[in-house]
């Protein structure tokens, strides 16, 4: 009994130690956002300091682009992901229920699109956007992000939909339900964990997206990763107060989402094939 308790204690101590180690950079950047530039750069690092909100005030008031960039990030991420999840849900429903010829191959093709590294397709995508006049416009960029998010979502959702028995559909049909009713009122409520998992995974992807925003976006469509990359260097050195405040604002939404929906993330990572108590 006692040795069990010691084992457990050691186990949790180790887990805490590793977690804290991983969390240190995050804690450092968040703490730094409340410091002055001198305090950030001081050696040895100051642990005890008087917090200041100057960095945030400066970020939101003096940096004219930041508010626009924040809005861009929020609006583009959310709309791209909502479109992607809706389209993926319908696609996954078809794959799962009607099993068109070549379903497995189509699913493989879908996932392989997602396997392509961004730089491999950036040139043709850039030429297409440039020629169509889509550069620096919100809707094309949102649709592009949605397109990039769909394959993975289809995979997650098909796993979940396969876990919902066709008997549920049949009960609806036998009682006179339309397909619309079956898809959205019968099946959808049962794959909520999958929808949330797909939503969060894609949100994280679009929220962090830099490369395409940099190449096929423009002044109107800049997002936070773009702001971070571009604003890092100023007045001849690293702009630490800017980096710290911006990063803190930047990591807050995904952290909140992940904290709120962490149990669905686990379900999503297993493509819905391992159905835990969610």
């Amino acid at each position: 009994m006692i040795s069990d308790r010691i084992k457990n204690g050691a186990y949790y101590t180790l887990l805490w130690a590793v977690s804290l180690l991983f969390f240190t950079p995050v804690a450092w950047i968040i703490m730094s956002s409340f410091k002055t530039r001198e305090e950030i750069l001081a050696t040895p690092p100051t642990v005890i300091f008087t917090p200041t909100l100057d960095n945030y005030v400066e970020l939101f008031t003096e940096n004219q682009n930041f508010v626009q960039q924040l809005i861009n990030s929020v609006v583009m991420s959310l709309s791209a992901v909502v479109i992607a999840v809706l389209v993926s849900f319908l696609a996954a429903f078809c794959f799962s229920r009607f099993k068109p010829k070549g379903t497995n191959f189509l699913m493989f093709i879908l996932l392989s699109i997602r396997m392509l590294p961004g730089p491999a397709v950036i040139l043709p995508v850039f030429l297409m956007f440039a020629n169509f006049g889509w550069k620096d416009r919100h809707l094309p960029l949102v649709l592009f992000y949605a397109m990039f998010s769909i394959p993975f979502s289809v995979w997650i959702l098909k796993g979940f939909l396969d876990g919902v028995s066709v008997r549920f559909d049949e009960t609806g049909r036998a009682n006179g339900a339309s397909w619309f009713h079956i898809i959205f009122r019968v099946v959808l409520p049962q794959v909520k964990p999958g929808l949330i998992a797909a939503f969060i995974f894609n949100l994280i992807f679009v929220w962090n997206e830099f490369l395409f925003n940099f190449v096929i976006g423009g002044v109107q469509t800049q997002n936070i990763p773009y702001a971070l990359a571009v604003g890092t260097y100023s007045d001849g050195g690293l702009n630490w107060t800017f980096i710290a405040a911006l990063t803190s604002v930047y990591i807050l939404p995904p952290m909140a989402f992940i904290y709120l929906f962490q149990k669905y993330l686990l379900a999503g990572m297993t493509f819905g094939t391992v159905r835990g108590e969610v």
Binding site: E170, A174, N175, G176
Partner: protein, 360 residues
């Protein structure tokens, strides 16, 4: 006719389940379809509901050809073999689902849900979610939902399978009286002879995707014209013994017979046909292996010459034999019912009844 099916065929790949099936179900009748597992009962019901599309043939409900109609366009109540209760809805919402879909006012739904829940004795569960129910409770919820459809044809796919004995008996009575109250056609699939004998007015025996016998349940029980009719109806199950010929000698299981019709491969024998060896008839030595005492009646399992025999006898609580005892069993030779080896049809004297008279 309430349901009329003609030439109905359905195959899955190369596996043919129904092959040119014809059947009729009378209006407002309680018709039971009896058949062994895999005889196509569920597939037939799914075709009638519209969940499957037939390869050939036509289906008419209430004299309207609805073969090409979608499930939504056919007005039939359906209790599926799987419960398929919606996990995100309460029991109350699950039961009221057909009415809700039909756009009924919520007061009417509430009233009728209460009625159905009362009949099936699940009032206390109405606010629970399906995950909180036991298997039997889920089943009763599914039955209640199936009955709450505005339809005059109800298809029930083995709805009482696996329920405990007392509940099943009560629900059999309830289903029967619901059918009479609703003045609806109940078409009920089961492989359980007790359910068939208790509830059926008309019975259809299905085997290998075809109707092999139909009629009033008592007639079918007394005059089985197919081996499946004899096998499936009657509790305990009838003995089906292999018929063998060695030269002039004919035997059915352990019994030596004077003769059998040409082509007879199987001989059916009701469990009630046996008596102890002091009576006249064909005889065999048998060893008693197990005795189930049902109170007034005993079901005795014996073995004779490698053949298991089931013997049901009213003993009024007395023990006439003991387990392990070797006894001589006698059977009236007229009690044997012979069936064709190829198609299972009855060969001898189809008009005469087997010796056992009373249905249990």
């Amino acid at each position: 006719m309430s349901i009329r099916v003609s030439g109905l065929s359905k195959a899955y790949g190369s596996h043919s389940v129904l092959d040119g099936l014809d059947l009729e179900v009378e209006r407002q009748s309680f018709t039971v379809m009896c058949g062994p597992t895999g005889s196509g009962k569920s597939v037939l019901l799914r075709l009638l509901v519209g969940l499957e599309t037939p390869d050939a043939g036509t289906i008419s409900l209430n004299d309207v050809d609805i073969t090409g109609y979608s499930a939504a366009q056919r007005s039939v109540g359906y209790v599926p073999q799987s419960f398929a209760l919606y996990p995100h809805l309460t029991v109350r919402a699950n039961i009221g689902y057909p009415l809700k879909l039909a756009g009924r006012p919520s007061r009417e739904i509430a009233k009728r849900v209460d009625w159905a829940a009362g009949v099936l004795d699940i009032n206390h569960l109405l606010d629970k979610k399906p995950a909180q129910l036991s298997g039997g409770e889920k089943q009763r919820t599914a039955v209640a939902r199936g009955l709450l459809k505005d339809a005059d044809i109800f298809l029930l796919d083995d709805p009482l399978v696996g329920l405990d004995y007392k509940l099943r008996e009560r629900l059999m009575d309830e289903l029967k009286s619901i059918q009479q109250d609703l003045k609806a056609t109940f078409f009920y699939a089961t492989s359980d002879s007790l359910e068939a004998l208790t509830m059926a007015e008309k019975i259809l025996v299905l085997d290998g995707g075809a109707v092999v016998q139909k009629g009033d349940v008592v007639d079918v029980y007394r005059h089985p014209t197919h081996r499946r009719s004899m096998e499936l109806l009657g509790f305990p199950r009838a003995n089906i013994l292999p018929v063998e010929r060695r030269g002039a000698e004919v035997s059915a299981g352990p019994f030596k017979l004077d003769g059998a019709p040409d082509g007879a491969a199987l001989a059916g024998l009701r469990p009630e046909a046996f008596s102890l060896g002091d009576k006249d008839g064909v005889k065999t030595r048998a060893t008693i292996q197990l005795i189930e005492d049902l109170g007034g009646e005993q079901v005795i399992y014996a073995e004779a010459d490698g053949h298991p025999l089931t013997w049901a006898v009213a003993t009024h609580g007395l023990r006439i034999v003991e387990e392990g005892e070797a006894v001589e069993l006698a059977v009236d030779p007229d009690a044997f019912v012979f069936f064709d080896g190829r198609n299972g049809a009855r060969l001898n004297n189809p008009a005469a009844a087997p010796s056992a008279e009373a249905a249990p």
